[in-house]
């Protein structure tokens, strides 16, 4: 599937000074024809686009608007400026939630990527029973977060779980009760998240690895380059689209973390495993505080936009530069 292959359905094989330039001219010709064909699908998408704009964007704007009022259980129209945001950032639970989100983001996303890639590499090399191993590693992803949270809560319960079993078997030094202590509780959530997500990343990376040109291995073996160096410097950079996909999907999951925390620790001990999504839901429904909850939601939206928009912009510039350079 390299650059020079002739397997694409271009419109006629125009000769060019290099195969690359020829491919580019084929694409340019096709593009003009494509515009005519684009109008009908666009029309078909119009209802969906209208729904997205009206409900999705409209609801987002409404949420931001409500966060500027003093709404309690039901929306009121009384504008109070940024008071809710002041209250929000003065709330210790919200501060803890933000810190926990950063911990989760770094450890779960980073850990899943590393673990998933290592598992994928292992499976790529050891081909026996690959299907069984792949299924086994992917099983946790099929479970809901609630099941994952409950299972790990029971495993880490000092009276019921692994600690009790190990101590009964004689290993009295074995301690595994992370959710019971406020310093380690968030890492218990991280562990459950890793267990769930690593298999998913493994499957993505495995599919990407299968697309690597096998000639590379022969070339590096001839040159005498060690295997780890091959992976780090040659294979993984080629997989950067796959890694980016996995990163985005994991990030989306981490920001939305709610059911895992509720099932596992319910925000405890105390409030040490609060996460922003849980804070928002608690205030929205349980605490009858619409204003504070929507303020939290708007802050999260702004944070995500602040991260995503520069990346999307940078990618756009890079793509435009690539197009202009040719």
């Amino acid at each position: 599937m390299g650059i020079g292959s002739r397997s694409d359905k271009g419109s006629g094989n125009l000769p060019g000074p290099t195969p690359l330039a020829g491919q580019v001219r084929r694409i340019a010709m096709g593009e003009r024809r494509r515009v005519g064909r684009v109008a009908v699908p666009m029309l078909a998408l119009l209802p969906v686009a209208a729904i997205v704009v009206f409900f999705y964007i409209g609801a987002t704007l409404w949420t931001a608007g409500i966060s500027l009022t003093d709404s309690r259980l039901l929306p009121t129209g009384k504008f109070i400026g940024l008071t809710q945001y002041q209250r929000l950032f003065a709330t210790p639970v919200w501060q803890t939630s933000l810190v926990n989100l950063v911990i989760l983001a770094v450890l779960v996303i980073g850990g899943c990527l590393v673990l998933g890639t290592l598992l994928a590499i292992a499976l790529d090399r050891a081909v026996r029973f690959e299907n069984s191993f792949r299924t086994i590693f992917l099983y946790p992803y099929a479970l809901s977060f609630v099941v994952t949270g409950l299972v790990w809560q029971w495993l880490m319960n000092p009276g019921l779980g692994l600690q009790a079993t190990a101590q009964q078997l004689g290993w009295t030094w074995f301690v595994f009760d992370w959710p019971q202590h406020r310093e380690t509780a968030i890492y218990a959530v991280v562990l459950a998240g890793l267990w769930q997500g690593a298999g998913f990343v493994m499957v993505l990376m495995l599919a990407g690895l299968r697309g690597i040109d096998q000639d590379i291995w022969r070339a590096t073996r001839i040159e005498g380059i060690p295997v780890t160096r091959t992976y780090w410097s040659i294979v993984l950079p080629q997989l950067s689209p796959t890694i980016a996909t996995a990163l985005i999907l994991l990030a989306m999951g981490v920001i939305r973390t709610y059911d895992l925390v509720v099932a596992m620790t319910n925000g405890g001990p105390g409030t040490s495993t609060s996460v922003p999504a849980k804070f928002i839901i608690d205030n929205l429904f349980g605490r009858q505080n619409l204003g504070l909850a929507t303020a939290g939601a708007t802050v999260m939206l702004v944070t995500v936009l602040a991260v995503v928009v520069p990346i999307a912009y940078a990618q756009n510039i890079r793509a435009a530069r690539r197009r202009n350079a040719l």
Binding site: R72, L73, L74, R87, T91, P92, V93, Q153, N157, P158, G159, L160, D177, P179, Q180, R182, T265, N266, G268, P269, G270, T271, S272, I281, D282, N283, L284, F285, G286, R287, Q288, N289, L292
Partner: protein, 410 residues
Amino acid sequence: MHRLGLSVFCSVAALSCAAPALADPIKLEVANSWTSGGEAAAKQVIIDALAKKGVEWVDSSIAGFESANAAFNSRLMAGNPPPVKAAIAGLDQSEVIGQGLMTDIDATAKAAGADKALPKLLLDNVTFDGKIYEAPIEFHGESMYFYSMPVFAKAGIAAPPKTWDEMFADLDKVKAAGLIPVAWSGQGWQEVKTFNTILLSVIGTDGFNKVYTDKDEATVRSPGFAKAVDIFNKLHNYIQPGSENLNWNDATAMVITGKAALQFEGDWAKGEFVNAKQTPGKDYGCEFAPGSDGTIIISDVFAFPKVKDADQQKAQQILAETVFDPKVQVDFSLKKGSFPVRADVDTSALDICAQKDVAMVKAGKVAPEQAIVLTPAQNGTLTDLISQYFAAPTSTDAFVDGFVAMLKNA
């Protein structure tokens, strides 16, 4: 043939005319969070009484009152509330009632004599804008601890302690006997109730009312309040490991099975003891927290969101009427471990623990629980504050400052 067909037709028509007299019972959905053994048995009392009046209780229960409230609020905002909700008297439903989303039961309540039979404290908290909106089913006292008599005997404790110093000495004895002194449920709302039990026992009923009802800052910053915080903190040494997120009835089970000595719990814990066929005075005992001169009370009520269906509205009023029935009140309390709200019912059938609470109510030594006098948002902040303090004790001053901030932030 023709006449046979005609007669069959006539008899069927006649029967179907008689059918409405045996109408299906009206289905009434009741949202609640009463899911433990004792609570389910108590619900059955009302279900049976309703069935006799042609209303069928459709149970919509979710374990954990926070989750049940969340589910109800989301249905309310969607415009599709259940016709009945089990709630708490006072500010809990005040915003919803203020927005005109609830039906009043003023006429039904007055017909049942509620305006005369209910204590004034409660009547004020179920009346909004001059009309009665909520039907209280029970009082719960929240100033007691329940102890296992076999465990006390094993640890060599002859009589329940009279002061907090004696209490800690007794808890040490239990620890020395190798058992768990205090069964602890690590959920936020449980820790708040335990803290309040200690608070009232230290600063008294008047002090408690000053803190929560009057929101008096000076009382919060008093040495009595600080002493209560220290006692609360000291309990860390006496609870079982693995208390985190433990349900209250699982902690009660520890006392019932003799693994733990006592639990600071509202008297709904008695429902669990009743379910386990234990009797107060023989298998378990109940005492007010050392030094208490009154009791914190909370009242569970039924609230009635506005519904459009006429049958549902009728069923709502039937439920309200049933709730005010003295016999239903006594039977419900016997199963759930609470005591009736009507002052004119026969309380001799109640167990000794409920009798103690009734005596306090009759003497007027009561303090409404914080959920009655704080808004749900304040209640939430208080829960966060106390549970975070118990998980990671800061200085007493920092806790007091947080408490004052919560009271000011209505």
